[in-house]
Structure formats: structure tokens, C-alpha cells
Amino acid sequence: MKRARHLRGNEGKRVHKRLWLLRRRDKIFRCKGRRPFGTSAAGLATNEHTAASVSIGEDRNLVIELPEALDFEENYEATASHFAVLRQAVRQRKTIRRLSFQKLRVISPAAALVLASEVDLWNFRTRGRLVADIDSWSEEIKRLLCEMGYFELLHIRKPDIAWPKGNIAFINFKRGRIKKIDPGPLAKELRIEIEQLVGQPIKKQILFEGLSEAMTNVVQHAYPDATNITLKQWWMSASYDFTSKRLWVTFFDQGAGIPVTLPKAHFFEYITGYDQFWSDSKKIEVAMETGRTSSGQTERGKGLQNLVEFAKSHVKGQLSIYSLCGMYRQNFIVKNNEPVASTSRVDHAVSIGGTLIEWSVVLE
């Protein structure tokens, strides 16, 4: 802090911004001054109500046991707590002996994507030395993760089992590293792959717009203080239910989060600092409604509003944005040829560890 105070000009601003981001991130991890967190025996922050199952083996290494259900709708706190513990252990370079899937019976596509991203980072830290103990996994989890491309993403050996075709089809998890890939052709490639998955043309320009804007937002805002290119990543998945004709497209990054990158937009906010009291879901709502983002420039920030278009352009559509501890959702139903919108937002005790964008639309 001392050094930063003595710095002047752009260098000082840069150091102050970095310190502010670090302090903000720490505050988020402690969940906004509440005290739900204790410290587990493993030295990792855990929530006393939804404590993740962490134990220390005889060799002093960590064993993390995943719960029975991982999803962000019914079991958000338990799901996010386990991911938070895994993320923290990987970032603190603790040795994790095992991530147990033994109890796991249900996993939603969005939770599977976040889990895959956390394990992907862990795999990167261990230089690809992870091995899946699939004999202990339930048949359903084995099948789901096989179909979602979990093994291909992590470059680990896939179980050699031919599954009967189910009602839900998936495209394999995708990983992108910003600055390395031109988002345009990749968004087109993903759009084509999603069309092949559902077996019918979808509103191509709107899906392309949503995917490309999600990637551009990661480039522009998600990782303001990351220096290592391998940490500036995003993950994507899509699935289609042939019975309900519902398509899900999910996009996740492990960046700073919309609530952190949202700047003060008005003079009044600088004076009062009242935005400090906004919850994370409120900040996502403000970013969506006013197009305000980290750039602070009035012409920017239109990208988040772009995300809505894909959900809005279908008979039934939903856009959910989870960022840090907040969730903001817009639902659209077409009535008399006009989309009618409704919104909701929820705040949780545990951060999702980045930003998860999920589109869910019913195809005609």
C-alpha cells in the first residue's frame, strides 16, 4: 500500500486499481462481511451451513467429496461451495489427492461445465497428470460426462462403453483462450455445431451475435488483472432435449465477475458510494439494464444487452447470468407476437467463481 500511495500518474492508477480488485475479490470470498465462513481442517474457507466435504488423508493431502447433486437451481450453495473449495485448493497449490465422484448421482449441464472448468485448471496445474477413477462413478454420471465431452476436454482416457442414444444430446465442452483465437470464426463454428446438434436451422445471426459478444466480453472485461494467458480462459457447452425441444447454451469464465468490473457511472455514486451496498445480483441487473461495464465509456457496454436477443427471439426463452454471488434472470414468452419479459434475481452466500451465462430456449 505504501508504495502505491507514492506512485503518481498512470502507474499509480494501475497499482491502485489492482489493489482495489484484490481487496474486492477478498471481500467477495468472505461473502460481504457476513460470517458464514469458517476454516476447515484443510485450511480452506468453507461455509458452516453448506460445508463442502473436505478431509485430509493419511498422506496429509486433500480429499474433496462431491455431494449427491450438483446443480445451480435446487442445490446452489452445496454445488458452489464444493467448486469454491476445489478452486481455492488449486490456486493455493495444495495437493489434492482425490476429487471423489462416488456420491454424485445428478449433475446439471451448467454445473458440469463449471466442474469441468475447475478440473481443467487443476489438470493444467498438475501438467495433465490427472486420472479418472471411473469405476467408483455412478452409471448415469459416467454416461453424462462421456456425452458432454469431459474426457476429451481433459485429455484423459474415456471409458470404452457404447451408451444407448438418450433424449438429450450434447456438444463436447469447448475451451477458448482469449487473445489466441479470433472469436468470429469460432462463434460461427459453434453456431454450426449447435445447429447440427438440434438438426434444424436456428436464428443464426442472433446466436452468432450472442456467442461472439460473450467471447468479446471475456476479452474486454473478465480478466482485468490476469497476466498469465492460460488463466484467461472460457468454457462452453450446449445440450438439446428432443422431447421438450429445449436448447441450452452455457458459457463460463473464471474472471473477476460483472459486480467487480461494474464501475460507478454517476457523480452521485462517487459521492455517496451507495453502490457499495448493492448486492451482486443488483449489480448484474444494473449492468444489463444500463449497459454499464468496466470501460466506463458511454458507448460501450452494449454487449451484455446483446446476450438477451437470443432468448428474446424465441417463443419461450430464458437468459440467466450468474456472476460471483448473484444471479439475474430474464424470461421471455411470446404473447400476441410480442415478447413479454419478466425478471428475477437471487443472491447466494457462495460465489460461483466467475460468470456463467446460460441461454435456454424452446425451438419452434
Binding site: 479470433d182 472469436p183 445471426q205 451475435e209 459478444e213 476479452v219 474486454q220
Partner: protein, 107 residues
């Protein structure tokens, strides 16, 4: 009159606002194709329906940026620029382009 096909003359997959966002950003299109064409020709027609799609950051920077950079005023662009589109799915991009041009404030 000059005709610019965004898909054919620039990129089928234009994405992003600034050069730092990708190789086919709105800033690149404005600086390398649109602004020179508008300087050299009385009327420029931009055909928009041969690209995959557009994000609003691309459109805002490419077209609204002409006003922000003080290259032209919105009134001048109304006389000089026409946006062509034949596919019904792309008509709303034309509406967006004119909205961004009218909303842009010279920096």
C-alpha cells in the same frame, strides 16, 4: 457511388469493437474500409446481409464511431451513406446502425 459488401470485402465473421478485440473489429472496418470510402465517394452503400451476424459493439464502433471521431455528422451520413439489406432477418441491423449513428456524440 461505391458499394461495400461487409462479408465479401471485410469478413464473414466481424466481431468486436476495437483492434484489440480481434482481427475483424468495428474499428478496423471503419478505419480501413468505411472511412476511406466515404472520403473518396459521394455516396457509399454498405451491404450487410452477407455476413454471419453482427454484435452491437461492432456496429456501434464501425458506424457510430464515424460521428464520435468527428469524421462526419449524423446529417452528413444520412446523405452519404445507405445501408442495403435484402434478408428480412437482417433488417433490424439496419435500424440499429442508424440508431447508433444518431445517438453518437462527437468526442
Amino acid at each position: 457511388m461505391k458499394k461495400i459488401y461487409i462479408g465479401k470485402n471485410f469478413s464473414e465473421t466481424p466481431v468486436g469493437r476495437y483492434l484489440s478485440d480481434g482481427p475483424y473489429s468495428g474499428e478496423k472496418f471503419r478505419e480501413e474500409i468505411l472511412h476511406p470510402a466515404l472520403k473518396e465517394n459521394d455516396i457509399v452503400s454498405v451491404v450487410i446481409d452477407d455476413a454471419e451476424g453482427y454484435g452491437s459493439s461492432f456496429l456501434d464502433e464501425a458506424f457510430g464511431g464515424l460521428v464520435r471521431k468527428k469524421y462526419f455528422t449524423a446529417a452528413e451520413l444520412e446523405k452519404k451513406l445507405s445501408i442495403e439489406c435484402t434478408k428480412p432477418d437482417y433488417l433490424f441491423y439496419r435500424v440499429l446502425i442508424w440508431k447508433y449513428i444518431k445517438e453518437a456524440q462527437p468526442a
